[in-house]
């Protein structure tokens, strides 16, 4: 049924090339669509955004333009989309931090978390990998936890910043493991990796695209994967669930979002464009080379995942008293 609606919407959008009375949804898109990437140009999120925009552009025939609106932990870009005209011409490349973390973290945020958006679809999802330096004394997660238990508060962990998914996820993992460690925030992923390689912190978590080069280059050792299953590239590295730590999965994901009141036919067109883009092996390959495995999810599952994370992050932020006023 969904596919049928989508294909009808597509057919209609093709018809729209002909002169047509203005009926917003029918001839969508009839002009350039802006995809807001809430990070600076050149980063991994930007790369993914550009691959998706290019794919949707070639399918729809209208330009999909990436605009980088960085700042304030990606909330400026997210707020811009939340408050824009809900006509489908301004979309957000959303990361979990803007959707399910920021609404709890910032008391003064101007959008209502993920409720301000209508999801178009998930693009990619990845677990984190828990890393220690290659010369670390810890060769397993259990050894790390045992040490932390015997020497409370002595270990340091680094993250790309306060309130990032890495920070909150690690806090949850440590709590579930019953230990504490000191948080050392850095200003972004690159400085946190430099600090990690320089031996300033004892462990970090990073996504596979950042972690794999360090593991392959013998700079870091993987102790655990925070997803539901082991990674094909690291078959010997256990998941946290394998290690007996329950409810401490964490992941990084991107999804394409439109403002909440975007008309349903427009959303259907966009969903079909995204779905077809992600089904094209060329785009899957481009995204993989950029470090992202395409992951699709039906809308109810996506909604469920977001709702669950929204609740979990809310809890951690409240428990740790991290709200920023």
């Amino acid at each position: 049924m969904f596919r049928f609606i989508a294909s009808v919407a597509c057919a209609l959008s093709l018809l729209a090339a002909l002169p047509h009375p203005p009926a917003a949804a029918q001839n969508f898109p009839s002009r350039a669509v802006t995809v807001i990437v809430p990070f600076a140009a050149g980063g991994p999120t930007d790369a993914a955004g550009r691959i998706i925009a290019r794919a949707m552009q070639s399918l729809s025939g209208e330009p999909f333009v990436v605009e980088n609106v960085a700042g304030a932990g990606s909330t400026i870009g997210a707020a811009k989309v939340a408050h824009t005209q809900p006509d489908g011409y301004t979309l957000l490349l959303a990361t979990s931090s803007a959707m399910v973390v920021a609404p709890h973290l910032y008391a003064k945020i101007t959008y209502d978390g993920f409720r301000s958006f209508a999801p178009i679809g998930l693009i990619t999802e990845a677990p984190f990998i828990l890393l220690v330096p290659a010369n670390s004394r810890f060769d397993s997660y259990d050894a790390l936890v045992a040490y932390a238990r015997a020497h409370p508060g002595q270990l340091n962990y680094g993250t790309p910043g306060l309130g990032t998914v890495q920070h909150l996820g690690l806090e949850r993992l440590l709590e579930a493991s019953g230990v504490k460690a000191a948080h050392v925030p850095y200003k972004g992923t690159a400085p946190s990796l430099i600090g990690f390689l320089g031996g300033e912190v004892d462990f970090i978590v990073e996504t596979p695209n950042a972690a794999m080069p360090l593991i392959k280059g013998d700079r870091a050792r993987a102790l655990a994967v925070t997803g539901p299953a082991r990674l094909p590239a690291l078959p010997d590295v256990p998941t946290v669930a394998d290690l007996g730590v329950k409810g401490a999965d964490m992941r990084s994901w991107f999804a394409l979002m439109a403002p909440r009141d975007t008309p349903a036919p427009v959303l259907a067109t966009l969903r079909s464009l995204l779905e077809r883009s992600l089904a094209d092996p060329a785009n899957v390959k481009a995204l993989r080379e950029a470090g992202f495995e395409v992951a699709t999810m039906d809308l109810p599952s996506l909604h469920k995942m977001m709702e669950q994370e929204y609740g979990q992050f809310g809890q951690i932020i409240k428990a740790q008293n991290l709200v920023i006023r």
Binding site: A40, A41, G42, G43, P44, D46, A47, R50, I51, E67, N68, V69, A70, G71, A72, G73, T75, I76, A79, L105, K108, T110, N156, G161, L162, G163, A182, V184, P185, Y186, K187, A190, P191, L193, I194, G195, L197, G198, G199, E200, V201, N209, M212, P213, L214, K216, G217, D218, R219, A286, E289, A290, G291, L322, I324, R325
Partner: protein, 499 residues
Amino acid sequence: MDLLDNLALGFSVALSLQNVFYCFVGALLGTLIGVLPGLGPVATIAMLLPLTFGLPPVSALIMLAGIYYGAQYGGSTTAILINLPGESSSVVTAIDGHQMARKGRAGAALATAALGSFFAGSVATLLLALFAPPLANLALQFGPPEYFSLMVLGLIASVTLASGSVVKAIAMIVLGLILGLSGQDIYTGTPRFTFDMQELSDGFDFVALAMGMFGISEIIRNLEDEHQRSLVAAKVKSLMLTKEEFKRIIAPVLRGTVIGSFLGILPGGGAMLSSFASYSIEKKISKYPREFGRGAIEGVAGPESANNAGAQTSFIPMLTLGIPSNPVMALMIGALIIQGITPGPNVVTEKPDLFWGVIASMWVGNFMLVLLNLPLIGMWVRLLTVPYHVMFPAIIAFCCIGVYSVNNNTFDVYTMALFGLLGYALVKLDCEPAPLLLGFVIGPMLEEYLRRAMLISRGDPTVFVTRPISAVLLLLALAALVVVLLPSVQKGREEAFKE
């Protein structure tokens, strides 16, 4: 002779007809766009990045490297001609470079920048080829205590940036530090001096601040006495360096190259400090300290060389670890990722043609830049003869575009306007903007590293003196403090004796 083989491989890649062409196009586009006020290397690369998507990886990176050098040189050009530094490293170039331009020596200043950069770039490239992996490991030895001590040294040395009163220079540094406090505290997330404006949660934008303090305030000041200014422009004479000038730049270029090459390796702001460091040193040891701030050619030669050497060696963390040391490198990594190459410790062994091709292309790019720009100098200088009432609206328009393009945010444009007014008021009070800018850049880093060092040491302040590199840097800072204070102490004593 591994090195020779590797370099031969590199040059065979970089000197293919196709890659030389892309290098040339990159340097040309980079210069043309970078010369627009406000469009520094980051904005220029971000803008031209999509051009490289369709190229093979090596060509793309070579073209980007060309754009980078071109944009950087373009930034120095605007700093010299119209006192508009588009990034932190050309702030220093603006001080004496623009004064030279006012005296009709714009051509010489531009030629000095080009030649100094070329020499420094060549040496730093060789250094990179010889020692990249060990240097990367050395850079990792620099932890938070070392960076903190380096920033202390930088801050003390920045007093020498001012040519006038030391008290006013210190006041400006402190004002810069205060402006740098604005934004979210990275350790607690608390917003400081953000006045409930979301746009301020990352603090003031450097480009907006610099363009306002230098560019806009300069325009207001020029409009005061347009008559006088056109007389200055009419005096433009020889475009090339005189024999005496050439002799004067040799030593500063050499020193700048050494300083830049080493500071550039440090990922945490080292490259940015190199031009400031070079300027401070040149001013201290110069035979003509009085000329500094009034158009000393050493004040262009040293920092420009340091800046370019640092730009070159800042590739080291990226090429050997896959970690960007500044926004430009982040863009380069983004370009690599889009090309399907994940930068990391293994790039050297897995893609030797890429690694050595890029290193060789750096040299080719620098050479191209000299070839391209020495003939263009005449054209740039002639720009100064354009009547000012035609030129200043264009400069303002480009400034607005440039500032807007950094974050795609109008807030930054207003910030620039505000700082333009502040800059004008400061000029009227005889306060110089350069120390303020340095305080603004160093302040947040000083705090970040201090607090991280204390966090990791669990509040034990002795880390700053027990770690040898940090202790040496602090001793140097102490020595610099004595040197800075000495002349005023002496002056005070001389005055005391008079009475």
